[in-house]
Amino acid sequence: MEQYYGYFIYALSLLTMGGIYSVLALGLNVQWGFTGLFNAGIAGFFAVGAYTQALLTTPIYRDHLGGYNWPIPLAMLAAMVLSAVVAYAVAKICIRLRSDYLAIATIGIAEIVRLIFKNEIWATNGPRGVSQIPKAFEGLPQPWNTLAFLGMVLTIVALIYLALERARTAPWGRVMTAIRENETAAAAAGKNIEGFRLESFVIGSALMGLGGALMAQYLKQIDPNVSDPLTATFLVFVMLIVGGSANNRGAVLGAMLMWTVWSSTEILTSRLPDEFAIRSAYVRVFLIGLILQFILQKRPQGILPETRPKPNPRHRGDNSPVKNSGRTTE
């Protein structure tokens, strides 16, 4: 019986982490999937969110800022806003340049964010990080607190999913697709390319900040390595590309799937002898990279390919159905 209870708790943790990564993957989907913006600094926006959540809610502590006693939901909102502000500053500079520059600039921002959290010891306790972060529903007894937190994460995922589905099929989402597929044509149609890209980048980064806020609560402690480019940025990218870029369902599916793969292989390798277990952790990274390369070359549309919104039947005749062209045929 006890064994099954253990499995049950593990399944809950799998779903919770998968849900948090879904938030990140949905955020990336707005940027990369919808608009084609390559954000290589997911980790940075994620860390801004995580630290905002941590520092606004933790009790007073002599080694870092704290004692503001913000309610958890309000801190999560602040995490989103702060990530959005950082994203706005980056995007304002780089969004008009070629996509490579945005990638370089975002990877740079992630690095700077990590440096700040590591070096500003008075505020963040430096490399030792912040612990005892309050978690929503933690007052409830086990397993109800875990269940309630999972419920909150999944509700957030569902809300974001519904909002993004609405955005995708709305004129806003169609402009995003137009910009991604043919920037010149979109500009010729009178669309403000830079403005739309900026919106997409800021919204996506705000969601990444929210993901960070959730992660900070779930793990209850964070340190500057939360913005380790590997686990945050790379994994989220693989999730979205495997699941299906520009498909919101694909983003959630990819996050759940890849997190299960990532987490279960960890269990496998941790059973190996010590010497081998540490090293085989790197093999997992290699395999995830290989999966990415394979999908990129063999099935760039991902498991669930992008679907285009159907034209409104009331306007039939003035716009013919758009065929799904896929991003590689560009």
Binding site: I104, E111, I112, L115, R279
Partner: protein
């Protein structure tokens, strides 16, 4: 004054030479293959670890075995190009950027798997500074700068005197026109990888000689190298050299106590200097100092 020269300017020049060699590869790949190669830093790490193993096996000086490591790394990089970059030659460049991003982590994880994550040293023992009056310099710094200058001269001669070098410059300037005049694009691409990888290995070995060898060393250099390439102008090897020197020197000088007693910028933020320079260039002069390609 001598303290400024000995402990800030000279290390800055050394670091600048290392950045410059790395940035040449980034700039050439950007100019000829048209994408920013995120795997460049970890290619460097790979070369350094190969050098490390060769040193352990042969017992020779790192600089003596470095050419072998350059050749081996070039071979591996050509294989990676075949497996991960060649399928995307006609695709949007962003696919190449993502592929290189994935490759960066694959290379690093393999290095961590085979060699472990502990620190290594390429040389053993403490060096004494050589004194020239009040001017003092570490012998290894003389060696690094000297070797870097030799390599830069070699790059210069190759780009201006050899057929393949001229073809590389032509392709970087205008790929369509270069292909029309009968230049073998694939050959140019292979030469670009070879040159970029060899210089990256050299830069990494110099860095390893100056400090130590660790698996994150290449990634830490990635941002300064990108900054140097952008500062000098994309596709401009000479610009990359100038950019690398500027960034290396500015990074070291940023922690000099210009005002009062404390460092102007906490040394913990040195890595941010390159980024700040890069952002400033992107805002005011995206084509770089040497009028590189602007995208």
């Amino acid at each position: 004054m001598m303290e400024f020269l000995n402990f800030y300017l000279v290390p800055g020049v050394v670091l600048g030479c290392i950045y410059a060699l790395g940035a040449i590869g980034i700039s050439l790949t950007f100019g000829i293959l048209r994408f920013s190669n995120f795997a460049h830093g970890d290619t460097m790490t790979l070369g350094v670890y190969i050098t490390l193993s060769l040193v352990q096996v042969s017992g020779l000086h790192p600089l003596a075995v470095a050419p072998v490591a350059m050749l081996l790394t070039t071979g591996l990089v050509l294989g990676m190009d075949l497996a991960f970059f060649k399928p995307f030659r006609k695709s949007p460049t962003i696919m190449l950027v993502i592929a290189s991003f994935g490759l960066m982590l694959m290379i690093r994880s393999m290095i961590q798997f085979f060699w472990g994550v502990q620190l290594h040293a390429l040389r053993i023992g403490i060096e004494k500074m050589a004194f020239f009056g009040p001017f003092a310099i570490l012998p290894r710094h003389i060696m690094i700068v000297g070797a870097a200058v030799v390599l830069m001269m070699a790059v210069h001669l190759m780009l201006t005197r050899t057929k393949i070098g001229k073809a590389m410059r032509a392709t970087s300037d205008n790929p369509e026109l270069a292909a029309l005049t009968g230049i073998d694009t694939e050959l140019v691409i292979r030469a670009t990888w070879a040159m970029g990888a060899s210089l990256a290995v050299a830069a990494g070995v110099f860095l390893g000689l100056d400090t130590h060898v660790e698996t994150m060393m290449g990634f830490k250099l990635l941002l300064p190298m990108f900054a140097a390439a952008i500062l000098g102008g994309i596709g401009r090897p000479y610009g990359a050299v100038a950019g690398g020197l500027v960034i290396g020197i500015v990074e070291e000088l940023s922690s000099y106590p210009w005002i009062g007693e404390t460092p102007l910028l906490s040394p913990g933020y040195k890595a941010g200097v390159a980024f700040a320079i890069m952002v400033a260039m992107l805002i005011w002069k995206p084509q770089g100092l040497f009028r590189g390609r602007q995208f």
